[in-house]
Structure formats: C-alpha cells, structure tokens
Symmetry: C4
Subunit: 205 residues, 4 copies
C-alpha cells in the first residue's frame, strides 16, 4: 500500500516525541544522607513536570488518533500530501519543547500561547491533510461526501476548542492549563462520526 | 489490518523507552592522567545504574511480550481500545524516569513505591486492554472463552506479584529490588497459557 | 517483501533524527521572579535554534521523500544495497549534530561547510543507492530506463544545488543559510519526474 | 506473519540506538568572539567522538544485517526466541553507552574490554537466536541443513574475530580500535553464504 511508509514515519515521530517528553522530568539530586521526607519533598516539586508529561502525552495521543483515523481511509499519497504530513510532524515533534516550556513557566501567558499555538498549527495541518486527501481523490471510494464532511466538522470543533483554550490561556494561564488537560477527555467520548465511519470501515473489511 | 498502526505506535514507544534507559548510565568523568585502576573504580560505582538499565529493559520486555501476545488475537480496534492502549503506553514511557529514580535512590521506600506502582498501573491497563478486547468482540473468533480466561488469570497473577513486590519494597527496598529483578525470569517460563494459545494460533495460520 | 525491513530501519532512523533535533532547543532558565518581558526576550534568543530545528527537519524530510520514492520501485535488496543504505543513514543520523553546530555558530564558514557537506554526502549515497538498484536489477520491471534516468537527473540537480549552497555558505554563511532554507521548498514543487513515475505506479497498482 | 512485531521492535531499538550515538558528539562551547581557527581547533578534538559514532553505527549496522538476514527465513516465534531476542536487544541498546565510554577513554584496556565484550555478548545471543530457530523448526522449510550450518559458521567466525579483537584491545587498545573499525568492512564482502541463501530466497519468492 502506497501510504504505508507515511504512516511508519508518522508513528515513529509520535513514538519518539511521546517518549522524549519524559526526559523533561528530572530525577532530583539530593545531598547525602538522603531522608525519605527530603526525597518526598523533592518529588513534590516534580508535579508540574509530571503533569506536563501526562498532558503532553495525551494531547499527542489525541493527534495520533486523528492521524490514524484519517489513514484508515487514505489509500494513496501524492507529493502535496507527503509535505502536509511533514509539516504536521514538524509541529508534533516540537511538543517535547513546548511541554518543557510550559512545565517550567506554567503561569506565563507567552508560554501558554506557544504551547497552544503549536497544537493549533498541528491541528490546522491535520485538517489540511484530510481536505487535500478528499479533494485529490486519495481516499477510499467508500468514503461518502457526508462522512468526509462529518470528519471536517469534528476537526473544526477541535481546532476552535484549541484556539479558545489558547486565547483564554494567554490571559488566564491556569484556566488554559485546565482546558488543555480536559481536551484529551473530550476526544475519548464517542462522536457522531464513529458510526458513520464504522459503517464505511465495515463495508470495506 | 485495523490494529496494525496501534502495534506500530506501541512498538515504537517500547523501542524508544528501552533504548532511552541507557541514557541513565553516564560515562564517568575522570581528571587526567587517567589510570586503569581509577577508571575501574569509577565504573564500579555505575553498577546500580547498569543493574537498573538491565532490570528496566527486561521488565519493559515482559510488558511488550504481554502486549504482543494480545495482538496475536486482537483483530480490530475501537476508540476505547485505542485510549486504553495510550494510557498503557503513558505508563510504559515513564519507565526511563522511574528506573533512573530507583537507580539513584535504591534504598528509599518512596522510590520503590513509585517504580513498582508505575509497573502495576501498566499491568492494570494491559489487563483492561484484554478484557475490553474480549468483551467488545475485537478478538479473533477462534479465541475460546476458556483461553481468554487463562490469559486473564495469568495477567492477574502477574499484577498480584507486582503489587506484593511493591508493598514489600516500600518497607524492605532491597527485597523489593530482588523481587522485581526476578519478575522477567518468571515470564520466561512456559505457562499453561502457551499450549492453549498455540492451539488457537495454529488453527488460524 | 524483501525490502520491507530496510524501509522500517530507515523510517526509524529518520523519525528519531527528526525528533532529536528538538533537543537542540533548550528551555531558557530565568531567575525568579520571572516577568513576561524577560521570558519573551529569552525566547527571542532561541530563534536561531528554532530556525535550525525547522530547516533541519525539512531537509531530513526532503531526504526521506527521496528514499521513500526510490522504495516505491525497489523490490529486492542485496548486500551492497543494504550497506549503501547504512552509509546513507549514517549521514542522516548525524544531522542533529550538524544542525546544533550551525545553530550555535551560524556565521562560521567551517560550520556551514560541515552542515552542507553532510547533506551532500547523504545525497551522494542516495544517488548511489538508486544507481545500484537500477543496475543490479532490484527495481520493479515496470521502471523504464527513461524514468530511471529522470530520477537520476533530478537527484543530480539536487546534489549540484547542495554543493553550490555549501561552497557559497563557506564564504558567505548568511547566503548559505538562506539557500539551505529554500531547498525543501524546491522539493515541494512537482517535477517532470512525477507524471512519469505516477504512470509507472498506476500500472503496478 | 507471526514474527512481524519482533522485527518491528528490533528495528526500532536499532534505529534509536544508532541515532542516540550522535548525542555522544557534543557541539563545542567557545567564548565570544569566536574565530574560525578556534572553532576548527575545537572541532579537531571531536575526532575521537566522531570516529566512535561512525564505528558504533557501522557495528550496529553489521548486527542489524545479521538479524535481518535471519528473519528472511524465520517464519514463527516462540517464547524462547522472543526472550533470546530481548537479551540480544539489551546488548544492542547498550552500545551508545559503550561507544561513549571508548570515545572518552580510547586508550584504556578496561574500556576496550567492555566495548568488545558487549559486542561479543550481542553476537552470542544472535548465534543462539539462529540455533534455536533452526532447532525448534521456526525457519522456512526451504532452509537446508547445509545453509543453516553455513550461517552458523559465518557467525562463529565473526564471534571469534570479535573475541580476538577484544583480547588484543585489552592489551593494545590502539590495535583493538583498528580491528573493530575494520569489522564492518569484512561484513561488506560477499560471503559463501550469500549464493546459498539467495538460492533459498529466490525459490520462496
């Protein structure tokens, strides 16, 4: 299948980016003799890093899911699709940096704007990816215009949510953090898009 | 196959996490002139790091094996399975951190509890993964309820062992270290589950 | 397919190299209390690193695309092809280092020469890879000598462009930086080679 | 295919280990103002690291090639094979550490012994991997006992070469370095094993 290696590269970038996130969590260095209370206190200061790790991982997971779902229906790739995919991965691979930035400066609006802005850019490229695939006829013939439109709607809603969280976060960083933390949860809910696509998938099985 | 990319992402996360473990082993910095005796003495201080690397790697290998064995029978994926898988990988990708923590503070109960607790969480998600796959009918039709139950039993035993080792380790860190070091060995032994599953596999070959 | 694992290794090396690039961008360390203005000023000093990340990523993307396109037609692998591939990946995997070097010393001719020289070496091995595959009969029978020649021409042009940019960069580093930044853009343009290869691909679909 | 994911994990570990090697090459930090001569002098001190990177990469490539060639004929995997494979990968993933060690202390016998010893251990597991696959009937039926024996012979020779280089290196580190640098070159030469296996492969194509 023509699109196999595009998926392999993407899976690799996602896997590395997800796992590199943990390098942002540093084992605390304590002077000897180390007491349990001192270690516990030092570990408590890691909570922002650990929360950043978990949220960054799950947001990457959400993007991966979107990419994965598209490729269930994309059958071919052209030069434009490959480049949109590379720009999408450029944003994805920068998440370990933006996550480390926000874990270090959780209350700074500019950190929030960069974190949210990167996710928004990733979302825009993912949207462009699907739009191009549908328009250029690279998707499975079984994908009806209605199903393609449902996917576009769901992605638009996700991008609007991300834009709103970024704007709110640029003024109220704490509220922004909570909103981004909730975003993967939304993606866990079954959507109207599922039965439509499941229908497609089952007919092509 | 629907589940192909889930496996690709998981294999990527496992491969990166396993290999990142080695970044926890630092080449010692010695002042010039370097003597063989000084280097040997410095390398001896690396033994906890190296043991941590080996044990962390083999425990990840054990988890990978469990994941691998499940996907020999999982044929499809739904949104719930994908999210259980992502939470499982979230725990897996944090092992380089928990291993570095325990290699740095091998005798601290809190380090032991975090190390063992993370593995236990990974085990719980792996168990939930299989249970959901069986209950939602995502596995091969050839998997009998008895075989599915045998897998569940084996996984439950592994989780109980992990829980016991974590609790013991939280009081007697040295005993906990030995128990976790033994765990991959147990997984190397052939189990009652092998012939049952081999039977399944051969009929689907 | 014989060539499947060669592609898997290459995709893995590309994915890791692309994502490791971001480790060259360090979160700035500011003394407390942190003001928005101080953070913004510190982030501005990251612009060369971020530009290096983006350009390095897209140049790796360009090389990946070339590798990907070759393997659409390569059906088998022999020992020579595997070794040419390994030397190509040796150059690819060093890009995180050469990119960090040029991001740190953007105006030093020697940094420019190493950065450009590494890309040129990668290009030469990629060219040798295709030449060997065609000459040793490892490609699909549908690849006409004309199409094989078109690919070689396109790759030669890319190598000449890289050589010119390296030489110019060794004297005028700023001009070299601009030229390397433009190179992925050139690769995004559709080429004469596309319809010829698309023709091949569609007949083999 | 049963053995597909074993290969995916192995390719991932090799790709990460190969690319992590480059993290052992550090961009030199020079005080301002930076002159071309000072940078060139600083880069010259990187030669041992760069040589270590190249030799480590090509030795990993040699091991990957051996693994790759085995899996052209391995059709199934059992629990024992999976564990031998994991121990092989444990040795492979430690190469970034042993390479950094030898690049830092190239003239220390103990560094040489650890570097060579790790490669030898990897070779022993790779040999055990093939022996087990042949003995347990996990390979393709087309593999004749003669071909299986030829592979074993070739691997034995490689292990003897590695043992000799390690022993020599433990006494004469410089000679050991040269010998390990030559080892990938030997692997590039076509062997008696190639036509025998090519014959097998072509009949199964």
């Amino acid at each position: 299948m023509e699109s196999r290696r595009v998926e392999a590269l993407a899976d690799g970038v996602f896997a590395v980016a997800m796992t590199l996130l943990v390098l942002g969590v540093h084992v605390p260095e304590l002077p000897e003799p180390v007491t349990g209370a001192a270690l516990l206190a030092a570990l408590r200061t890691l909570v922002p890093s650990l929360a950043g790790y978990a949220v960054g991982f799950l947001l990457l997971g959400t993007l991966w899911l979107g990419h994965h779902n598209q490729f269930r229906f994309i059958r071919r790739a052209d030069r434009t699709l490959l480049w949109i995919n590379l720009f999408f991965l450029l944003a994805v691979a920068s998440v370990p940096f933006t996550t480390a930035l926000i874990a270090r400066y959780p209350l700074q609006p500019v950190a929030m704007a960069i974190f949210g802005g990167t996710l928004l850019v990733a979302g825009v490229f993912l949207f462009a990816h699907w739009s191009h695939a549908v328009n250029a006829g690279l998707v499975d013939d079984e994908v009806t215009p209605e199903a393609a439109e449902l996917v576009r709607e769901r992605m638009s809603m996700a991008m609007v949510a991300c834009l709103v969280a970024t704007i709110i976060g640029a003024f109220l960083p704490k509220a922004g953090l909570v909103l981004f933390g909730c975003m993967p949860v939304l993606s866990m809910l079954p959507g109207r898009v599922d039965p439509a696509l499941a229908g497609e998938a089952s007919t092509t099985d």
